[in-house]
Symmetry: D2
């Protein structure tokens, strides 16, 4: 069995994460051919060569288009800066490659639409790097909902908070510029939306507010007004009548990787926090009154595919492991099998949600999201 | 030193709580004359007599107006059903009594205004039963903010959730009727607003959404549409530019007494949950990078007036103890000393907040709150 | 119905706690006559008078023997320093009074035996102030065990830790002297043993180690060797074969009121920590594999007698409330009804446990506890 | 730069874990040549070939001695069943290979001694698979101790609990037989001892008790007495005077991977639980009284080598990541650099601790551990 030929563009935070996933997926799952790591592209040839050696890729290049031209490459991992996503993904699809592109999908809705169109036209698999949906803990919540254990869904709250923009002494930087995007909403809120995409009905209407916790930052010779919004909050209306809140803040001191989800139904509730990524809290209203309480369920082999990583429950998975699961799902999709992925269609829906939220903020009014 | 003469109207949930507070306040604080428990009023004379005996009151009556006429009564605890608050409070104030009235203030904004006017006209102390603000843990958060330990306030989130309306099998009842009020917003959300009143700047604008998690309930011979809203959510804009979210749900399975507050500033953050009412979480951004984290501060004698109850830290206070603190603050107010209370002016501001939130829901639009 | 006549000796930490309980018990439970607070004794007449006024006692005295001579006094709360317990309790019993004596029972095994003998001879109720056993959360664990929900009991761990002796800069004081007792073991470990008394089978054998975390402290003009042991640890063997550990430390930085109990059976487990005194953790091995986890059960009306304090679950009880429950149990005992108390017989068994643990430390060997 | 040549024996739980580590170590750390995965040995040739393909090994064999004879193999990962450890490790060392052997070291003290002797004689690196010590969270606790932030160490508690032996319905199996070893003590308690080895002074004396929570299990046609001890408890005396407790239980319902460590010094305290492997609790007694509390420190780039895995704090590591760190430390050792490993000398000390604990249980007496 010959493994799929992989090309990787980018070796930063997420490029390395892709590389680790490609190295681990066959050993972890044992039911898929080991991928062949064909070419790695970086902006600098020396760096490309060093990373290729470390990551186990056969070849290195400083020209991503050369990577796309390589006939051995069947799938392309795109982990380059966001503004490059569109060009790379469209070119890769047009070159007949499958695409695994990091989130956010693109820096404009037009670009995201172009990517979706290219994916449809190509007939290839095109998937976005929404790793959090792969967490066995999140899958468990989905399963509890699917099996009706929470009853009819009534209310959902999602918070996503980190503090990498919290320090008011940090000088003005790229993320403060409007050309980097909207702010918390598109930079990292898309993860929160990806969780809603797998756990809740479609969002039908939103009202959103955004703010600048740090309004200005030091720049050469003075202060410069921050252009993006590090904080965003919204009220949500879901199809079917459930309501919800969304709160995103990349300037929330003390929060390091918080993605707190609370889901309430008429027969129970569940909650989760990414800072404790192996725990699910589950409340079953059918438990006897004197023994009711949120159960802290530690992920384990009873929660697939946890057992592929460790046969013992409570021996936690890590952030990078989620990418390995994502790689496996991607390979399912490539093989034409059912897969849990955010493809470019679903990804575009997330981008449209972002656009609707931004529009709501701009107009200070409720916005209906078209289906 | 002669203690203040107390009359108590009502002996249910909160009436008992008042009685316990009046019995405990002098023993606990040791710096105030023991109140004289003069008259207790209940709807039924037999019940009134029984409760008076148990609660330590000298006399019992089934006529609250007789209680107000008693010259020995100097202060009146009003713990009767909400629709009675206006008449009782106004009459008590007009009779020259101080008033300690349970929340919510009234069942209409007009009633609340009449109560505020009566209080102003009387020159007497008129205070509402917002016990949660008395928690030493909440005071600590206020102190951290006041001392600048969180820096400039940027973002606040408040959630208040219980599940007493969560069961869809529960038959249609009083709380489902619109004559009981709006729903989560006025029935219990006022507590959340009382916390914002002591911890955050004034709210300047809101957008609110309300929903009916359980849309209809069984009634005689069929289903009946629920008229109130068990869930309410809102986005908040505070004076000075901070933003926030408010989420209230009395149909949130598994939540029993959750009042979760998160406060973020540019130098730190703090959080609290009433279900763990003796804990404060505090993050100090000035801590060294490798030793940063939310501190779980257990309330103790370092957090006044905890030490008046127990000299040992970590030996938690309970819900009823907060009322004892409130009684002490009330006596401060009666003595003309500075006191931490929600008086009828501050209470009216809370009711106006409620009205603005309801209006925002009705109009599906942002509403500016007049100052 | 005439309430029982109460005399209170001592108004410090626990004296105040008794006073609050006597003031609250009738109002809280509503099924017992309100006690008559007859006499209060303190060492100083002025203080006695002030406290009597604040606590609601009719009379004050600086002579505890006069209190015992008062014919209106039917029950005596003894909250004087430990060395006085024996004389006061024996005299009270001999005077025909019921006795409610604070823990620890006495400062020597001989004294405890004399007290037990006096109680037996008197035919009066004689109960010790072990408040932690009254916690509805602890009762719930007992109920889970009693109903077989944990299955056959296999293993128990108890930790009790505070930090009031942790500071090495604190000067040599009373608790460092051997005349104050053994140290952690008798000063506060007796509470841990009281929990074992209600939750586990009798302890049959122990091996114990004690240590001095702070070996010497500053005293006038130099350092003085600490004579007591602030830390004690032990292995336990229970009747029936279960094993356990006991760890006591009053010099454990950061622990403020930790009494952590873990109970394991062959069908489940439960745990508790007094620092979160309203929470029980319960694991039911019969839950389905993918939904197993410790449930955080918040105490509420389903856990008697919580509902006597607050009708809403999750609205926590406090440390002082436990004493109110204890007072009610005591009144049950006085009325000849079944009661959950540690009487002088059970208290003596705890003291014998302490003695066996101390003997084990001294001999560095296992010690069998006689039944 | 040519990577080290690796041979792997065994592909079960830990064999797979080694394989994943060898695949990830260069990509993760970027400062070490990518290992060459030369030969994989399994008991069955077909399985060996399949696993070699999945794990990325060049060759496969069903003969581990052939693996040792391979000149390209420079280091041997031994993840075969425990009884094989001695023969394989000694043979590998004698063949001039470095050895990375899974814990426990051996099934007898004599075997462990033979392994240590072979390691010393070989001059090669010989390291045991104690992964938990590599956790950045554990390293942080070590750093806090090393920097004096806890002050003088006074008291240590370690609990290690899982529930894979808890079900009384599980039939008699290998782990119930005495030929599998002692029970909790050697099967998994060695991990707890490895943590003590890096965090605390040497243990000087112990008293230990062991028990059989499940005394007999079903076997063919009846019940069979369990021979091993699923539970072990001990009191510890450390060099320098600190005391401690050790509790091990592989039949503790609800515990899935708990390794709870509490360390108390005279200036602070720290704690950790492997079920939340990215969190450290740290209490600093120097914090101001009203702001003291255990800080929940989430592992991040401030805690090396976390940042090699993820550049963002709070984006947790997993169980398998700890093995990658271990692999890197091993490569440090091979390169003659300082390394954080449990080598065969340190591993033998752990085994001697196990033997002393078992001896204490057998003799029901304190046992002094020779240095």
């Amino acid at each position: 069995m010959r493994g799929i030929g992989v090309g990787l563009i980018g070796t930063g935070y997420m490029g390395k994460c892709h590389a680790l996933a490609w190295n681990a997926v066959a050993a972890t799952f044992g039911d898929v051919a080991r991928p062949r790591l064909v070419v790695l592209a970086e902006t600098d040839q020396t760096l490309a060569a060093a990373r290729a050696a470390a990551f186990g890729f056969d070849r290195a290049t400083d020209d991503w288009q050369q990577l796309l031209a390589d006939p051995e490459v069947e799938i392309v991992s795109i982990a380059a800066p966001n503004p490059w996503h569109r060009d790379m993904a469209v070119a890769a699809l047009e070159a007949g490659k499958h695409v695994w592109c990091e989130k956010p999908m693109a820096t404009s809705l037009a670009d995201a639409e172009a990517m979706r169109d290219a994916a449809r036209a190509s007939g290839k698999v095109a998937v976005l790097g929404y790793n959090y949906i792969q967490n066995p803990a999140i899958r468990l919540i989905g399963k509890l909902i699917g099996e009706g254990r929470l009853g009819r869904l009534q209310h959902v709250r999602v918070e996503m908070d980190e503090d990498f923009m919290a320090d008011p002494e940090m000088p003005f930087g790229f993320r403060d510029q409007s050309l980097s995007g909207i702010g918390a909403l598109d930079d990292f809120g898309v993860h929160a939306l990806s969780l809603l995409a797998v756990l809740a009905p479609p969002v039908e209407a939103v009202v959103c507010d955004m703010s600048r916790p740090v309004a200005q930052r030091t720049s050469e010779g003075g202060m410069r007004a921050v252009e993006t919004h590090d904080s965003a909050t919204a009220l949500l209306r879901f199809a079917g009548g459930a309501t919800g809140t969304l709160a995103l803040n990349r300037a929330a001191w003390g929060r390091k990787g918080r993605i707190a989800v609370q889901v309430f139904g008429d027969a129970g509730a569940a909650s989760f926090d990414q800072e404790r990524l192996n725990d699910v809290q589950f409340f079953d209203a059918r438990d006897p009154p004197d023994r009711q309480g949120f159960r802290t369920i530690l992920a384990g082999p009873a929660h697939a595919p946890f057992g592929k990583f460790v046969p013992a429950p409570g021996h936690g998975l890590g952030f990078n492991d989620l990418k390995v699961i994502e790689a496996r799902e991607l390979l399912h999709a490539v093989a034409g099998e059912p897969a849990r992925v955010i493809d470019f269609d679903a990804g575009l829906a997330i981008e449209r949600g972002v656009a609707a939220l931004a529009r709501s903020h701009a107009s200070a009014a409720w916005v209906v999201i078209p289906r």
